[in-house]
Every structure is written in structure tokens, then in C-alpha cells.
């Protein structure tokens, strides 16, 4: 009976292979319950595609949340593969010594419910934003183009408006950008500030970053900024949802700014309690996270370990595939197996993968039990 011999020998295979193939039977069963709960929630709240319900049976009036699959999109994985942490300015408003009790969660009004025929915001809505920024730039829109969803022409993904000296692009995911067609003299941020004061605030927090290609070639630098809030909590929100990124072109001019405008397209559901950093770390080490990183391929032990944690911040995961904008602890995990050549890179350059742990406690989710690291 040598088949049984092989079957028995299978018992000794590497833990990593067993862990990555954990069946999701429990998930499937609970998924039905979660979907049912979400369906009930949708009925109660009369919200199409609703993912939360008013938790009337608990003391809190906060709507229950649903953990969503993060669609990282594209190939590869998400992480800090262009920056050396030691070589970047850390502008995160939060660190492990700061205790945060509550943070807001938002409903993304731009979310396109699967099967739904139109996005929440129309071409006119997006054009209105482009118009607003054109006015701030002191120019008029000369022409514009709209780009529709690959599968549904009625969904406008992007509007790109041309003015005399600028190109204003407004995306269906709440992101927008302004391209400076005439960037002469815009060699540093102070020059940009002098020309475009409406983009800046007194309390801006600024970081400058250096990008590298995968094989170590310096690609240029960019600035990132957000407005410091009156509280740490507000700063954490602004850190993601009101972020701007100014990018240098190859000739050293700052040619464009990317602006996160998600808060314009979202509705606050409430202020939710936040788990502590230690609790988040415990969940991370327990495999309860979301990540696009293949641990087996890029981490020598096949799993996230405490020694691999290099940095943590709190961010809001955004994108128009997210029904909710909610806070996550984002762990920068050293990928000690990444098989990239390091020619030309700084000696201490390392690649980091992003691993996310929801900052809101489990009891505020209808489906937290599903969240076992198997969403990737």
C-alpha cells in the first residue's frame, strides 16, 4: 500500500506549504452568514450595496463594518520598494508611543457596487471638481476628455481637463492631479508654494523622498505633505486622505502634484475605537492581516516575525474598490528573501512589504472571523 506511505510522508512537509493551503471552509460558511448580515443591513439602512448595519442591539450606535478584500491591483506586491526607510523623512503623525483612542471611518461614496450601472459621481460631478481647481489656478477649461470603465461605458473613471498652462485630472477614486505644463523655475517646493499658494497650509508637514528603480538606479525625488491637524487623530486622517505628492521630472523641475481628495467623496460613519499597537502586532504575528506579499516566496521563514518589523504607521486604505475608508496599522516588513540585485543601492537598502491590520476592534465587524490572512 505505497499510496498510504506517500500520504503519511506528506505529514512531514514544510509548515509553510500547509499554512498557505489552509482550507477556507470556515470562511465559506461564515461568508454566507456575513453576506446575510450585510443583506439585512442593506435592507435596514436602505443603502444599496450596504456593508454596515446600525448596531441597535449594542450600546454603541456605530454601524457595524465589513472587512473588505483589498484589491492591490496589478502584478507584484505592495511595499516600500523604492525607498530606503533610513533615507526617507518619516512624516507619520503617529508612532508606537502615541495612544489613539478613536478614529473616524468613512463610507466611500464613489464605490461602485458590483452590477450597479453608474458610479455615485457622474461625469458632471468630476468635471465640477476640475472646474473648481481650474478657477484656483486662475484659468478656464479649454477642453476635456472622459475615460470610461473598460466594461461599462456609463461609468466615468476619469476626467482630464486642459487649461492654458495646466492639465487637471480628476479620478473616480477620489484622486486627482495637476500637471504644470510650464514648470520653468519650479525647481523646489518653495517656488511651487510661491506660484500656487492655494495648495499649501501653514501647518503642512513635509517629507522628501528618493526613488530607486528595482536594480538600484536613482529615479528622482518627490515631496509628500499633509496638513497637520489640531489633534493627532485629525493628522492621521490627513496623512492619507489629504495627502499631496509633488514629483520632480528628470530635469529637476516639479512638474505635477497628486492630490488625495477622498474626504470630498466620503461620508463619515462615526468615530470608532482603535486597538493598541500591541494588539495590532499580536494580530499581525498571528497571521491576521491583509497583504499582497507572498510570504513563502519573500520571507525566509515563510511567515511574518517580530524581527522583520521595521516600521509601523496608521493609514486609511483608499481606492474606489473600497466601500469603506477605515484605518489600518500598516507594518513595513523586511522581505529577507527578495531575490533582487542590489547594484548601486545604498548599503543598507532593504525591501519592505506592506502588511495591514485593521485598527478598529473585531466587535465592530460583521465578518472579522473571515479575516485570517487568507484574503490575499
Amino acid at each position: 500500500m505505497n499510496g498510504l506511505t506517500v500520504l503519511k510522508a506528506m505529514n512531514g512537509i514544510d509548515d509553510r506549504f500547509i499554512a498557505e493551503a489552509v482550507p477556507e471552509k470556515k470562511k465559506g460558511k461564515l461568508l454566507v452568514l456575513a453576506k446575510a448580515a450585510a443583506a439585512v443591513a442593506a435592507c435596514i439602512c436602505l443603502v444599496a450595496g450596504g456593508v454596515y448595519a446600525y448596531n441597535s442591539f449594542q450600546n454603541s450606535q456605530l454601524p457595524l463594518l465589513s472587512i473588505e478584500e483589498i484589491d492591490f491591483g496589478g502584478m507584484g506586491f505592495e511595499g516600500s520598494d523604492s525607498l530606503t526607510l533610513e533615507h526617507s523623512d518619516d512624516i507619520s503623525p503617529w508612532n508606537e508611543q502615541i495612544k489613539i483612542d478613536k478614529l473616524p471611518v468613512y463610507k466611500n461614496l464613489l464605490y461602485r457596487y458590483e452590477g450597479q450601472e453608474k458610479s455615485y459621481f457622474s461625469e458632471d460631478d468630476l468635471l465640477k471638481v476640475a472646474q473648481e481647481y481650474s478657477e484656483l489656478l486662475g484659468e478656464e477649461i479649454i477642453s476635456y476628455e472622459k475615460f470610461t470603465d473598460d466594461f461599462n461605458e456609463r461609468i466615468v473613471r476619469n476626467v482630464i481637463a486642459q487649461t492654458q498652462n495646466h492639465q487637471v485630472s480628476v479620478g473616480g477614486d477620489g484622486g486627482m492631479s495637476i500637471v504644470f505644463k510650464n514648470a520653468e523655475g519650479l525647481t523646489d517646493l518653495s517656488a511651487v508654494k510661491a506660484k500656487y499658494p492655494f495648495l499649501f497650509n501653514e501647518n503642512d508637514v513635509l517629507g522628501k523622498y528618493q526613488e530607486f528603480s528595482v536594480d538600484g538606479e536613482p529615479l528622482g525625488s518627490y515631496y509628500k505633505k499633509y496638513e497637520k491637524g489640531e489633534t493627532v487623530e485629525q493628522s492621521v486622517v490627513n496623512y492619507t486622505l489629504k495627502k499631496m505628492r509633488f514629483t520632480h521630472s528628470e530635469n529637476g523641475e516639479i512638474r505635477s502634484v497628486n492630490i488625495n481628495t477622498q474626504q470630498r467623496f466620503s461620508k463619515k460613519l462615526g468615530d470608532y475605537p482603535v486597538i493598541s499597537f500591541d494588539e495590532a502586532k499580536e494580530k499581525l504575528l498571528d497571521g491576521r492581516y491583509v497583504s499582497s506579499v507572498d510570504e513563502v516566496s519573500y520571507i525566509s521563514s515563510g511567515r511574518v516575525e517580530e524581527r522583520l518589523i521595521k516600521k509601523v504607521d496608521i493609514i486609511y486604505y483608499t481606492g474606489n474598490n473600497q466601500q469603506l475608508f477605515m484605518p489600518y496599522y500598516r507594518f513595513y516588513i523586511w522581505l529577507d528573501l527578495l531575490p533582487f540585485e542590489r547594484t548601486g543601492l545604498p548599503e543598507d537598502y532593504e525591501h519592505y512589504g506592506f502588511f495591514y491590520v485593521p485598527a478598529v476592534p473585531e466587535e465592530y465587524f460583521v465578518n472579522y472571523e473571515l479575516f485570517d490572512g487568507e484574503f490575499q
Binding site: 499510496g3 506517500v6 505529514n11 514544510d14 506549504f17 498557505e20
Partner: protein, 186 residues
């Protein structure tokens, strides 16, 4: 409670370790045992046996991943029980089907081979899995470690059953070649 904290309880000989392990990984272990034995009562007994084995083996063991550690214990206990019962019991279970699929990988040299070469076979399986893509690897492990049906695997990964069958066929072929290369099958 993290795996590390539970393992520490084992090391302190604190029986709460058993309860925490059951709470955290009981259903996982039960599903493995049930997949092999297709009998709830037997599966529960195997879970209990594996908890006892964990108590007896930690320390000296210090598992880094308690889930897979418990999974291995309960799988081992379940296969032993299956072997014990197989003479007089059931036909057509996933375990028997999986065994029949793996039947021609080794020449039939009897139990001596099984004992002598077990570790070498495991090494070959690990090598073969390491050299496979994640998709293929998980399909293989789901079939021959978790003893899931081909239909369930197809559903889980949105593949057709024929695709799963094809993946398994090719991987068994690769494993056979690896076994031959290492002289295990000679």
C-alpha cells in the same frame, strides 16, 4: 492569545494551554480529522488525541506555528486510525481515493521501504513543492495533506475539476521523477 503565549503555557505545564489550543485550532483540527475519517465521533477523538500528543511533546518541542503543528498531529492520528479501520471499513472516501492516486509512485517493496524511506519521500515532496508555483502547490497540499475532494479544490480556487485533475496528475509525475532522481523508488 498568540501562538507564542499558548506555547509558553505548555512549557509552564499550565493546562489552560489545552483549552486555548482547542478554542483557537479545534475546528481546524476537526476539519482535518473529519476529512480523513468521515466520522464525527472518530474525528473528535483524534482531536483529543492530538491535544494529548501536544501536551506530551511540548516541551521539548517549541512550535513556531501552532496551527500547522496541531494540524500535523491530528492528521497523523487520523491517518493511523484510518489505517486501523480501513480493513473493515468504508470505500470511496477522499482518503482512499487519494491513496489510490498516489499508489503507483513507489515500487511495492513493502513496509520496510515505508519505514526506511519515509523521510526521503518527505524531502522529495518538499523539493517538488518548492519548485512548483503557489497555485499548483496549494492544490497538491489541499488534495494530499488536507484530503479535500477535487470538486472542493476546484471550487475554492475557481478552477475546473479537469484543471485540478490535470495539475495533480502533472505534480504526481514530477514527484515520481524526483523520487526516482533521489533513488527512493529504486
Amino acid at each position: 492569545m498568540t501562538d507564542g503565549e499558548i506555547v509558553r503555557l505548555f512549557w509552564k505545564r499550565n493546562e489552560a494551554a489545552l483549552e486555548h489550543t482547542r478554542t483557537k485550532y479545534g475546528s481546524y483540527c476537526r476539519s482535518i480529522a473529519f476529512g480523513i475519517l468521515r466520522n464525527g465521533e472518530d474525528a473528535e477523538e483524534c482531536v483529543n488525541d492530538s491535544l494529548l500528543n501536544a501536551w506530551n511533546s511540548i516541551p521539548p518541542s517549541k512550535p513556531q506555528n501552532l496551527r500547522t503543528y496541531m494540524g500535523k498531529l491530528v492528521r497523523n492520528a487520523s491517518i493511523n486510525r484510518f489505517e486501523h479501520y480501513s480493513a473493515q471499513k468504508r470505500g470511496g472516501t477522499q482518503t482512499e481515493l487519494a491513496i489510490s492516486e498516489l499508489e503507483n509512485l513507489l515500487s511495492d517493496n513493502g513496509d520496510a521501504l515505508a519505514t526506511f524511506e519515509s523521510e526521503a519521500i518527505t524531502r522529495c515532496i518538499n523539493t517538488m513543492l518548492q519548485n512548483s508555483s503557489k497555485e499548483k502547490r496549494t492544490v497538491f497540499v489541499r488534495r494530499y495533506w488536507y484530503l479535500d475532494s477535487i470538486a472542493d479544490i476546484a471550487k475554492a480556487y475557481s478552477l475546473s475539476e479537469s484543471k485540478v485533475t490535470s495539475i495533480l496528475f502533472r505534480m504526481r509525475k514530477e514527484l515520481k521523477e524526483e523520487l526516482e532522481k533521489e533513488g527512493v523508488n529504486l
